[in-house]
Amino acid sequence: MLLNDSEWANLIERLEAVTAKRSLSWEEVQVEDDSEGNSYYRAAVGETVYTLGAVDGDGVSPFFLEIWRDGKIFDQIQTPANRISADDLVSIRNGLRDLHREVGRAVNRAPERVAMLMSDLATLE
């Protein structure tokens, strides 16, 4: 592992922030040769590619985040599989969940859809 827990926590927080601002755009990628239609999210920033998804392909925790550079994996992390309450691990656990939720909202254009629903409802008396 190249990044330590504190660096991971900061990176995840930053990714979530730029995703929420829509400065970073993600795409959904279907897993090749997968009959169950599993997918993960992918975003590129310069030479770096980030991939994010559910480890078991079911959309729920544990989640993984990978950093790729030049087609090779640079580092990766998963939702910690223990209840150690160190601040950084808690940040990573909560951060991965929040990031996955935010990316899902961005990819599925949730805010725009909600705005559309609200505008439809606004026409009703």
Binding site: D56, D58, V60, S61, T79, A81, R83
Partner: protein, 174 residues
């Protein structure tokens, strides 16, 4: 030269040709009928085999789910998140598969509906429990809902498969 010569009487070769043609048609019809019977018998045998496999899978379901309950009990007793995660994954997958199995017409319609409702609840609560594993204070706390749904499901499943077994054996003896 006319296209059709109606003045010429048919000779022995014409009659022989006619007879051979009729015999050929008869042989073809008999062969086609036999082939259709064989295909129908093969289809019936395949349908029976599929039904048998389907019922075997249904009868094995309570034991298969009980194994998963055993794993969950162990994970709960030892507060082991990894074992709980895989047990919940298995429970989710087996319940999803079982939803397809309970569509069998050997079940009473009311039992089908009850089982399908309980299975859908377990499918949902097993996924929710897996999602909560890391955040909950213990495995026991994370699996409270799914354990309750699961126990209700196994009770209903045992009753339904027993009824089905009785119905199948009654039909077989008639």
């Amino acid at each position: 030269m006319p296209l059709l010569d109606t003045s010429a009487a048919p000779g022995w070769a014409d009659w022989l040709g006619l007879v051979l043609t009729v015999v050929g048609f008869l042989v073809a019809i008999i062969q086609a009928t036999r082939a259709r019977r064989v295909a129908a018998a093969a289809s019936e045998a395949l349908a029976r085999a599929e039904k048998r496999l389907h019922m075997d899978a249904l009868f094995a379901l309570p034991a298969s789910l009980a194994d998963t309950r055993g794993e969950l009990n162990w994970a709960e007793a030892n507060d082991d998140m990894s074992v709980a995660r895989f047990a919940l994954l298995r429970l989710h997958n087996r319940s999803s598969e079982a939803l397809l199995l309970v569509a069998d017409d050997s079940f009473d319609v009311l039992e089908q509906k009850k089982l399908a409702r309980l299975l859908r609840r377990v499918v949902k609560s097993s996924l929710a429990a897996k999602d909560q594993l890391a955040d909950a204070p213990s495995v026991a706390a994370a699996i409270i809902d799914v354990a309750k749904d699961f126990d209700e499901l196994t009770g209903q499943l045992a009753a339904s498969t027993t009824n089905m077994r009785m119905r199948v054996s009654t039909n077989a003896s008639e």
